[in-house]
Amino acid sequence: MRSNLINHKIFTLLKVQYSNMLEYRVEIALWAISGIIPFFMLNIWTNNNLNESINISEVMLSRYFLSAFFVRQFSVVWVAFSFEEDSLMGKVSPYLIQPLNPFFRYFAQHIAEQITRFPFAIIIAFFFFIFNPESLWIPNFDILFLSILSTFLSFLIQFLIQSIIACLCFWTEKASSIERLLFIPTLFLSGLLAPVISFPNYVKSWIYLTPFPYLIDFPANLLSGNETNISGGFGMQILWLLLLFPFFKKIWSEGTKKYTAMGS
């Protein structure tokens, strides 16, 4: 009975958010297009033969960047921005009364958006293969499953980090600027613009201890068939999730105690 109820909740949330997202499909298509920066980077790498110095063939590098594009598409998180807006508009108050953590609502929103985004990402990949037919590859089922899993874990890590930042709204009102600050290292260190393997040694020595390479570089290497430490990658992803989750729970319970509705 109880599990049925939970299923029902999840299903309803997803259904509502999916129809909501379909309403914004043009928006989402545009958003998908704005994620094509990895392809421009690929063009710089191959056009200047920079890939030779890091021992990755042109084909493998183009697969890497296509995978990076996909991983990024399905791990984009914006909960800090949504939460900030809702909290400034006072919309959080009714959510707090409901017997459901508001973050489930945002979570369902993200999942629904990813489902809506899927066809657009496929179309972009299709165009990519028209221009680069030699890089076409079909990963086998195990690899595909593992990379979807690691992309989902990457999404979870980013969702948790951003939810923690979103909770700072209870104290500072404008938490999105902290999120924009944190986005900078994510952008440059996650492997979206250059594979982590190409980084200079003084960065490579510590970067694997941070969560950044596991956000895009690890899933993208996995999907594209480049060399990567599979068990180590998953281990670190899970470790970071285990570290972040209690922190989120703590800040959430502290924050809701601190919360006063706008205008009170």
Binding site: G35, I44, N48, N49, P185, F188
Partner: protein
């Protein structure tokens, strides 16, 4: 047109928007750190490209740094004026508040484009200028008055082109209403402006000269700064700028004919 009136109105705009922005002082501080980190990040990326290669697209590292300087400067201008103002157009049109703008005895484009200002972009402008000065030193560029005038003209031109692009895209909101992300697409394309255009393949170079004139936004100004450009390129830049500014103005006036206010 009454210039004195416009200057007076602009002083009022500055006063009100600075007053409201300075409410969030920590926010500005965080934005400053973000700007610095973002610059460090892009220099880091550039250094990866130059790790095993002396030139990229015929530019060496010191010269490519000039492009970074110009990009940072332009990004600062975007964050100070274009982003806070032109993303508001969507709101004006969705909520029908454009009515109030149109009723005012002042030019609507002036009002929409300059109403708000975001002080955190200033630091980026400073950073950009700082890098440019540093680049003058390491590239041993001899400064004289006519050179500085040329530099100033090209920078003004590229700011105007950038503005026209932003304004053009924002204007399309009158027909499509929900296009928050259209400017994001523009931003991601402009990201390419951080790198020498010659480092891209021929087809992309063509795309970035014609559809999104990055050649005119960062490449030609950088060449002017290096003293490498021919006079006809500067003339072309001025012509392209006037075409862009003129067209975007006409487009706005044309689009206003189709504005029907909200719920009518």
């Amino acid at each position: 047109m009454n210039l004195r009136k416009y200057i007076k109105v602009y002083a009022k705009f500055l006063h009100t928007s600075l007053a409201s922005e300075l409410e969030y002082k920590t926010n500005i501080l965080i934005d400053l750190v973000t700007a610095i980190l973002s610059l460090i990040g892009s220099i880091f990326l550039l250094s990866i490209f130059f790790q095993n290669s002396n030139t990229i697209g015929g530019w060496n590292f010191e010269q490519a740094l000039i492009i970074q300087g110009i990009y940072t400067l332009l990004n600062g201008v975007t964050n100070t004026w274009f982003n806070p103002n032109l993303t508001e157009i969507v709101k004006y049109i969705r909520e029908g508040t454009l009515d109030f703008v149109l009723l005012k005895p002042i030019d609507s484009q002036f009002f929409i484009s300059l109403k708000r200002i975001s002080p955190s972009g200033f630091l980026e402008i400073m950073l950009g200028i700082g890098i440019l000065l540093y680049c003058f030193k390491i590239n041993q560029i001899y400064l004289n008055l006519s050179f500085l005038v040329l530099c100033f003209i090209t920078i003004i031109c590229s700011i105007s082109i950038l503005y026209s692009l932003w304004f053009f895209i924002s204007t399309t909101t009158i027909w499509f209403v929900k296009t928050w992300n259209a400017t994001e697409v523009l931003r991601s394309f402009l990201y390419v402006g951080r790198f020498p255009l010659n480092s891209f393949s021929f087809s992309l170079r063509l795309f970035f000269s014609i559809f999104i004139p990055i050649a005119f936004i960062t490449t030609i100004p950088s060449e002017v700064f290096l003293g490498l450009t021919q006079l006809w390129k500067i003339l072309l830049e001025v012509i392209v700028t006037s075409v862009f500014v003129f067209t975007s103005r006409k487009f706005w006036l044309f689009a206003l004919k189709f504005y029907t206010s909200a719920s009518s």
